[in-house]
């Protein structure tokens, strides 16, 4: 796996293949201009190259342990001996197979930091009547095997190089926690701040692990003295006012409704759209 700055994607964008304005090659343009794709106005460059083999090969993962996070979410620790490693923020594809060969597959973000050799952790919400999350929450026990392929997507990934501003809601905190854990494990100096939204204190995933870098917003019920309500400009604007050198790379993760809301707050507070990376859980 290569780090940002060395990928074809990133160098292509840096080279700037635009031929002027927002439009692509104009009429009568040369052969070189014909191959030009317009310069992006959002964070198109991937952060890393994704290996073909890791993305297309199914590996057996053995459930090593289960940790309850909230009444509705639990962390599943998997032993994947051949795991190629990942960057914080990446996800994988997971599949369960029934006796008759029927397969259910879903994407899950990786919660653990990269340096957990041979192990990865996933945190799953128990979705009502959920086919895959239901199996994990009601049937799965240590020793069970499932299959995974990944890591996937070089886009919603943070190598730990740039200041990172993380906004998440519900289980959207999962890939962001991988970034926070990586930041701590490596004792990185680069600024990192997180704002997470949870319905109530008891539904806040990783509550015991959150530190000074994190602000929590409660939407339905809060501890005594803490206001209840959605994430607003008041949570985001101060972070953008104290921009670190080079500016923030913003990562937004959660439901589509949250992603729309949070990304609009960021844009309104002055964050450039091409420095906002969004992972929507659907």
């Amino acid at each position: 796996m290569r780090e940002a700055g060395t990928t074809p994607a990133e160098s292509r964008s840096a080279a700037g293949t635009d031929t002027g304005g927002t439009g692509p090659a104009g009429p009568g343009s040369t052969r070189a201009a014909v191959s030009a794709v317009p310069r992006t106005r959002f964070a198109v460059p991937g952060r890393i190259a994704v290996g073909e083999d890791t993305a297309s090969t199914w590996q057996t993962a053995t459930l090593a342990g289960v940790r309850r996070e909230t009444p509705h979410a639990a962390t599943f620790r998997l032993a994947v001996p051949e795991w190629a490693g990942h960057l914080p923020g990446q996800h994988l594809m997971l599949r369960l197979t029934a006796e008759d060969g029927y397969v259910a597959q879903r994407h899950y973000s990786i919660a653990s930091p990269p340096d957990d050799s041979g192990h990865i952790e996933l945190t799953l919400d128990a979705v009502p009547d959920g086919e895959v999350s239901g199996w994990f929450h009601t049937v799965a026990r240590p020793g069970d095997t499932i299959e995974v392929r990944g890591p996937l997507s070089g886009f919603f990934a943070w190598p730990g190089d740039r200041p990172a501003l993380l906004l998440g809601a519900g289980s959207g905190v999962v890939p962001l926690m991988s970034m926070v854990r990586h930041h701590r494990a490596r004792r990185l100096d680069v600024p990192l701040r997180m704002v997470v939204s949870a319905r109530r204190p008891e539904e806040l995933i990783y509550a015991d692990e959150l530190g000074d870098e994190t602000t929590v917003v409660y939407t339905r019920g809060a501890p005594h003295g803490v206001p209840v309500g959605r994430m607003t400009a008041a949570h985001v604007a101060p972070l953008l006012a104290e921009q670190p050198a080079g500016g923030w790379e913003a990562y937004v993760c959660g439901s589509n409704g949250f992603a729309e809301h949070a990304s609009r707050l960021l844009v309104a507070a002055g964050q450039p759209v091409d420095r906002i990376r969004i992972e929507r859980f659907g």
Binding site: G23, S35, P38, V139, T145, G154, E260, V273
Partner: protein, 201 residues
């Protein structure tokens, strides 16, 4: 086959319309764009076809809508695993745009680019022959912004990331030039029936 202990899955009937590894999203239409939904009005929308064509051309909203109407009614399939049956998109067939710009014989591939900067890459043959549309209606109503409105590309026989939202143009090329997800490890063609999700599949 690696059977998962105790996994039966939801009760199901074999569904010939469902490609391998997909499930029926029923009433849901998940949104998975990686960028901020742009604030783009029909008045600001344009669509251009350029690259290896006889004559580059840009259409504005009214000009595009004046082309012969064409609709797609059928299924769509997302690489994240959901499929949606019986959707209806209204717009114009890409063939109508191509007949104006006249692609060169040397054109083999295309990059579909968005007003946001998103790109997807695909073989030109997948965009011709009544298999691809520029659409502005969903179920008879204006296409919602989060689903690509005012107008998006729809190439329903490929995974839906190919169907660029907020479509701004298509560049015809004589080689494959990987788009946004294709640079991020996704398949060059993306045929759901062959389960071409990631490059190497």
């Amino acid at each position: 086959m690696n059977v998962t202990r105790g996994f039966a899955g939801r009760p199901r009937a074999a569904d010939p319309g469902l490609p391998p590894g997909q499930y029926d999203a029923r009433d849901e239409w998940p949104v998975l764009s990686a960028e901020v939904t742009p604030d783009l009005s029909p008045a600001d929308w344009t669509f251009r076809v350029d690259g290896l064509v006889e004559r580059t051309r840009t259409w504005d909203w009214d000009e595009a809508r004046a082309l012969p109407a064409s609709a797609y009614a059928g299924d769509i399939h997302c690489v994240t695993g959901w499929s949606k049956f019986g959707v209806e998109f209204g717009g114009v067939s890409l063939d109508a745009f191509f007949s104006v710009v006249r692609p060169h014989g040397s054109a083999t591939h295309a990059v579909a680019y968005s007003h946001t900067g998103y790109t997807s890459s695909l073989p030109l043959a997948d965009l011709t022959g009544g298999r691809a549309w520029i659409v502005w209606e969903y179920g008879g109503k204006p296409l919602p912004a989060e689903h690509g409105g005012p107008a998006r590309l729809v190439v329903p026989h490929l995974y839906f990331w190919k169907s660029t939202k907020w479509i701004a143009g298509i560049t015809l090329l004589d080689h494959d030039e990987p788009g946004f997800w294709e640079q991020n490890g996704y398949h060059a063609r993306g045929n759901p029936w062959k389960e071409q999700r990631y490059s190497g599949d």
